[in-house]
Symmetry: C2
Subunit: 364 residues, 2 copies
């Protein structure tokens, strides 16, 4: 049974640098703990992984923010670390804490045991993609995603989050050969994983290089960007129906390396709030759409302040492309995942302000 035709293609058009009547907006982690309905579903699921591995729950929470806000895209509810979990490292989330792996990858013997996992172990993700795509019924496109090879490696070596990246960087500086082996396996696994999401129905895919920005200049290019490139080179360009599947790369804290990233074989670059969108547009040039980049903490201010900051971000990008052909386009997003403490009604103020103000800019 084919999927329903798409009713709102604003996001996909902007990814492909085609004109739209408003700037599309979606929010990283838009299905999350700031929504009481999400917390209710999570409570029924028992745990984060219980939620992520259950197709019905994953479908339910993915659609929750779309019921509240006129967002222009949905993103698969999952985690960036499903791939190393499928490698046998044992992912879990303690209440109120970040991800933890039961096993870590720190020695040559650990690396010897590492391999691209059987994609059947990630079947629950692909099933969720198909289920969500059906449930969306063509309302908005569905984005699939994964962590980047480097970001996965950070968690695999550290065994969880870190505030200094001491173990993963210690390994990188001491045994660059081992780090390269880990990253090559991660890259091939991420590529297979994203291709399977595309086969299952994802209409765009995003690589989250959440920790690329902690690397030194030179090391970022060698240990993060090179492996993002290796992922991109293996990705399908179109889905089963021949529709182009845009690829988004987001390196948090990567603003200094835009000139290194502008030639990446992808359609969209994600940016955080430290980057000036106008300057990024000038640097990146005609090759990419830009996605981002408001500080999620803006959402703690009252609606009038949110509107002002939204206008500032839209205006910093400058006039978007209008008319036929391709030109500069902007996809509005946060520069990082939404905070669990965000008042839900402030999200409404943000999404409405993006739509209203971006229409006004096009009319000017």
């Amino acid at each position: 049974m084919p999927f329903a035709p798409l009713q709102n293609d604003t996001f996909l058009r902007a990814c492909l640098r085609q004109s739209t009547d408003h700037t599309p907006v979606w929010l990283m982690r838009q299905a999350g703990r700031y929504l009481p309905e999400y917390c209710a579903t999570r409570a029924r699921a028992g745990s984060f992984m219980g939620l992520a591995t259950n197709v019905d729950y994953a479908t339910e929470v993915t659609l929750q923010p779309l019921e509240r806000y006129p967002l222009d895209a949905a993103i698969l509810f999952s985690d960036i670390l499903t791939v190393p979990d499928a490698m046998g490292l044992g992912l879990s989330f303690q209440q109120g804490e970040g991800p933890k792996f039961a096993k870590t990858v720190r020695t040559e013997a650990d690396v010897d045991r590492l391999a691209v996992p059987d994609m059947d172990r990630l079947r629950y993700v692909f099933d969720a993609v198909t289920s969500i795509r059906r449930a969306l019924d063509g309302r908005v496109p569905l984005i699939g995603f994964s962590g980047s090879p480097w970001t996965l490696a950070c968690y695999m070596v550290e065994g969880g989050g870190s505030d200094d990246y001491r173990l993963v960087k210690g390994l990188m500086y001491s045994r660059p050969d081992l780090m390269h082996r880990i990253l090559a396996i991660n890259a091939d696994a991420v590529a297979a994983y994203l291709n399977a999401q595309i086969d299952a129905g994802a209409q765009a895919v995003m690589v989250f290089d959440s920790w690329g920005g902690v690397l030194a200049d030179g090391k970022f290019q060698e240990f993060s960007l090179a492996y993002t490139r290796r992922v991109l080179a293996q990705l399908k360009r179109t889905d089963a129906n021949g529709a182009v599947v845009p690829r988004i790369v987001f390196t948090k804290g990567g603003g200094l390396w835009l000139t290194d990233m502008k030639d990446l074989d992808c359609e969209v670059l994600g940016l955080d709030w430290t980057v000036n969108l106008g300057r990024a547009r000038a640097l990146v040039g005609e090759s990419k759409a830009l996605q981002g980049n408001i500080d999620p903490n803006v959402l703690f201010a009252p609606p009038e302040a949110i509107e002002r900051e939204v206008a500032g971000v839209l205006e910093s990008f400058g006039p978007p492309h209008q008319g036929t052909g391709q030109g500069p386009t902007h996809i509005f997003n946060l520069g990082h995942g939404i905070s669990q403490y965000t008042p839900p009604e402030h999200v409404k103020a943000l999404v409405d302000a993006v739509h209203r103000h971006s229409r006004r800019l096009r009319a000017a």
Copy 2:
């Protein structure tokens, strides 16, 4: 009684963009927990504040790293948060945790109560500066320091460290007027504090803008840089003997804003490891010495790897100024404070590598 004449002026010369026969090196937090002798003194002092507020202990730990390594500068042992402590906020350090304030600044009433503190409340710092300067006996210059107005505000509003800056940014976006009032008071307090350190014997001063890099483009300029500027405008240029006192500004994560910082009224810009020193040199131009920027995690690698990375950082800066007059100079440092888990013998490998390799570069 005048202070002893300086025997090693390499650091001060490099700050003033004068040639030196090697690249000077010192390390942020060089008197710290990675040294067993530091831990022994801290144990005797009972607490971090017990250590920092006792002139003899502060002198002892400041000199400890100089006994082990041929460092080219000493830095006052203290904390970046002494100023808000003197404002009455009650600073403490729980074992194994970061700084905590007993009182926070979050409301208009809190801001109404805030004022530049009587510098007598910081007498222990100035006494330590004089004591350390005497104990150094001219071996190397002594650097004084403070947190930047914005960085102090982060802790004052959050009440301690933060991983999302939700409260301080929430206040900034909601009530920019209150944030500007806090920052103006902080700036005037920091300026008075650094001037008193200069009077007491500090031969250079450094402003640590540790959290400037978490701000959005536009907000950094408005809420951090503008107040660093306000500090710099009030600082003494020379000490009681007419010697120039170089001023160093370090914004962690500020690499994207070097063009905004190149016109700051200071002698040295500190950089973290995400910045390419050669590119920074080209951007900043002829006005400033550069300080930085090796990743402190390099110190977890074996000595051969440390040497290789040190050479890479020195070479990324390019050929340093030689001969008379002024020209491009580099002060070697970490891009962040040294980790408490660092093996002390690896620090020796780093310092020796900087001296040896930088002499070799000058001879080439």
